[in-house]
Symmetry: C3
Subunit: 140 residues, 3 copies
């Protein structure tokens, strides 16, 4: 029997960086008992994004941060919208370059993630924020 | 009772820039009467994309445009595929750096968008185009 | 009657480059007989991604490759995570800048792709790999 489950959750960030939510999404899928389906994760913000990336080596995340800081520098004088801080427009652009939603199949009761794939909330603002995330699960 | 609804619509653009479609997607969701579900928006092009971004301050969109023009310059001599104009390859790359589809949960009869999230068609070509967008809604 | 179908497939790559899977996804949709629905394609890796792009002119893909090699250079000294090769961190970043999953509506028994849209696995590592891809289809 097809059914849907929704989880409205939030992630407290301590400023710019990665916050893994793989286990939280997996645990939600597991609790519903849905064996085959589709899980959608949506972050309700424009200055924090979602990233599926390697969950093994923390060097990878440090390199990501360094690369994006060079690609979209804080305080870049190209930006006109600076009233909310010199990291605000970079946060919007970093969000656009990554993604705000993911749709991952559920197979045999688990997210069809690869061995090294973890799901992260990537906070792009320097200050702590509470980031709302909606998880939608459909299946049977 | 689960059901699906599909809307095949189009957006007329006046050249490079942002065209908000949030209300159109919301109104489609509302008309179907579906209270819980999943809305997918797909743009059927390779030189225009979808973007979820701040809908409050137009400065943000001007900064986006400026940043992307610097990141992927029109007429960059690195490009071989120039027969369709000096903004054609940049339009393809800008599309790849953003996205062509979005999947947004529907909760309590509304898209689970954040307060500041608007859905935009981002036209990357300089000339006007008609951009076809398919909206798929599944739920009950 | 709503139903779901899942295909767990793989793509053998010969190193960095584009591998079109449009026909494989279309053929899966066609075989299920589902006329209206949602197809989700998820690649289970962090150094290969999915791209919807022009399927007509191979110049476009060469320009993509050239642009991304300049944007995220192999062997960039900014990277700390180099143990797996000088193309490893660039592969992770190129994956993040594009996408690992796509959700495409199915209308009249076919993927709602535009005329020029093809679905590609983009291998970002220089060496050959076997890339696992999960296709989930839901509809009736």
């Amino acid at each position: 029997m097809f059914r849907q489950e929704v989880s409205e959750t939030s992630v407290s960030t301590k400023g710019r960086g990665f916050y893994e939510i793989t286990r939280e999404v997996e645990s939600f899928v597991s609790k519903t008992g849905i064996k085959t389906g589709l899980a959608t994760v949506h972050i309700q913000h424009t200055s924090a994004s979602l990233l599926v990336q390697e969950n093994a080596d923390p060097e990878v995340r440090r390199d990501f941060e360094r690369f994006f800081q060079r690609l979209v520098p804080d305080g870049d004088r190209i930006f006109e919208h600076t009233a909310e801080g010199d990291d605000d427009m970079p946060a919007h652009i970093r969000t656009a370059l990554t993604t705000v939603n993911l749709s991952i199949p559920v197979v045999r009761g688990e997210l069809a993630l690869g061995t090294w794939q973890g799901i992260y909330v990537w906070e792009h603002r320097k200050h702590p924020h509470t980031r709302r995330v909606t998880i939608h699960l459909l299946g049977e």
